[in-house]
Amino acid sequence: MNIELTDVTRTFGRNKAVDGVSLAVGPGVFGLLGPNGAGKTSLLRMLATVLPPSSGTVRLLDKDPGRPAARTQIRRRLGYLPQNLGYYPSFTVAEFVEYFALLKEMPAHQVPKAVAAAVEQVDLGPRAKARLRTLSGGMLRRVGIAQAIVNGPDLLLLDEPTAGLDPEQRVAFRTLIRDLGQRATVVVSTHLVEDVGTACSEVALMAEGKVVFRGTPDELTAQGEGHEIGDSPLERGYGAVLAASRKQVAA
């Protein structure tokens, strides 16, 4: 298992962002769904070793990220796209991706080829020498994806990766993560249910910091039988699980 979480909690003051989450995830594309404030980003930041959990145990790539040496090893094999990608406006696409390849401690001689491959994979080849300040939001998102995959990560964490992408790019992106999921664990946090339906082999739905559903997209779809809110079967499943969860909390 590349991700093993046991009873992980994260609090910010009195607010419990993540509340006793236990998960074990192996290779494949894992979708993390949930409404705003469900705790997806906090969970992803913990998996990215940016945020420590308040309690519980985390194991990533069979290592304990609590130990500095192990954490460094994990980070070398990690790809992370944060929700808010910061960028240096004067950098070119290739320079930005190269910067993070170097920070990921890739051997210097492998970096140019890895950068070229990552930039090509997100279809930004023609804009490789363009300054980031000249790119659209969707293109910047793709730059973020390129830096995340540049080191060929074994654990890829993507927070809202399709935000700002046009439909054609989203289709290409889903193909890309399906390919990456053949050998790595890809965790995709998203609001867009259709991304999960087409790209993910497994899905977890979070609400109020808890995982309230875990299964395949088909199983989530099956939850929606008889539920009327939602445009697609998967959306109805999503809505039904959330409604049941809210009812349970209210009770």
Partner: protein
């Protein structure tokens, strides 16, 4: 080029066979890697060798307050200070150098300032190491700029060797304290503006406090404070220990705030 096959027309079948043998994507990636390759400058290559990390060297050269506009601004401010000192005899270099350096230090790293801070925190190159390397680099650059400005003003105080020595060197220790304070506040509060404000504010408070205390030592020219009196007061050897103590305390705060988190994570 004696191979006759070069002159033969290529049939559709053989063209297809040829492209089957060559992975064009792979070829293109190799070409693109060469075309897009960035060639680091001599300084960056030297830093990479010294730091034993191309990533750390690259992070060093993307320090927001080491970028060209910052460097030019710092040089201009200190040059204006030196010119004013030459013209009016007021000791502006040592007065402004700690504040300029403190702002630069606070603006070297942190959330809200370094755009890629969140990403940097998930990188194997330690963000603490990046912070400290950038801090040292900004301090060194400002110290060199300040020393140059001080040396440029030597002529005005050639007759006063004590003041000359103070102008050239004595501000380094107060500058260290101001920079350390700026860094500690910036890291603890996670705000470059707060750090810069603390560094500059503390330095101004110190200068103004001494100005008020030593106001009796005016040169009688319209109440203008004696340059020598203020310089001596702020760079007094008795203050070296407090400056050093502030710098050490702030360094401890920085090290604590950026410690690698053990235990849970």
């Amino acid at each position: 080029m004696n191979d006759p096959s070069w002159n033969e027309p290529i049939s559709g079948e053989s063209r297809s066979a040829a492209t089957d043998d060559i992975d064009l994507d792979r070829v293109w990636v190799n070409v693109a890697a060469e075309v897009w390759r960035r060639h680091p400058g001599r300084l960056e290559r030297t830093a990479a060798r010294l730091l034993r990390s191309p990533g750390l060297a690259r992070a060093l050269f993307t320090t927001p307050s080491l970028l060209l506009p910052w460097l030019i601004a710092s040089a201009v401010v200190l040059a204006v200070g030196a010119l004013t000192q030459v013209g009016a005899g007021q000791p502006l270099v040592w007065l402004i150098a700690p504040a300029v350096a403190a702002v630069g230090i606070a603006y070297s790293y942190g959330p809200g300032l370094d755009p890629a801070w969140e990403l940097s925190c998930s990188m194997p190159v330690s963000d603490r190491l990046v912070l400290l390397t950038r801090g040292v680099a900004v301090f060194a650059v400002n110290a060199v700029l300040g020393l140059i400005a001080s040396i440029a003003t030597l002529a005005t105080h050639a007759a006063q060797p004590t003041i000359t020595a103070q102008l050239t060197f004595a501000w380094l220790l107060p500058m260290t304290a101001a920079c350390a304070l700026a860094l500690a506040v910036a890291v603890a509060v996670r705000s470059a503006i707060a750090g810069a404000g603390a560094g500059v504010g503390a330095w101004l408070t110190l200068v103004l406090a001494h100005s008020a205390t030593d106001y009796g030592a005016t040169d009688g020219a319209g109440g203008v404070l004696s340059a020598a009196a203020l310089t001596s007061a702020i760079t007094d050897a008795n203050l070296y220990l407090p400056y050093l103590a502030v710098a050490v305390c702030c360094a401890v705060i920085v090290l604590f705030a950026t410690r690698p988190q053990r235990g849970l994570l």
